[in-house]
Symmetry: C2
């Protein structure tokens, strides 16, 4: 079973990496780019015997403890087959 965790800065938190990406793209000749935000995606391979609900609860706990800095970041957990 696979869990996909997407972690990104909360809206309102300055994303310097995203700003750098957006201005680099503008300078490369893409004026249609209005902004960019950069986040992380963590693909976790889990024991196949776990049921999806338990897996989701465990991964949410992992996000709170380790994977996301909940002061400035938000996260989303998706369980894939």
């Amino acid at each position: 079973m696979k869990a996909i965790v997407t972690v990104g800065l909360k809206p309102g938190v300055l994303d310097v990496q995203g700003k750098a990406v957006a201005s680099a793209l503008n300078e490369l000749g893409y004026p249609s780019v209005e902004g960019a935000r950069v986040g992380k995606v963590i693909e976790i391979q889990m024991d196949g015997d776990l049921d999806p609900d338990t897996a989701k609860a465990q991964v949410t706990e992992m996000c709170e403890k380790l994977l996301a800095n909940t002061v400035i970041e938000s996260y989303r957990v998706d369980i894939a087959g």
Copy 2:
């Protein structure tokens, strides 16, 4: 219009960050974690007048030029409304 770019290391490329995450999770008391891989997600805000096909083509070009290191990384482009 929003484009979501997901960039990850190609299969077979050693992902030290992923290995560190997986062993940290095991040590935190999650033995069900068998492995992890870490990638980036870049959300690009684009000019709303662009049609989705043109946007996708442009973003694919941006990946080749700037957003991904195609020697070791693969990417996926999704266009959201």
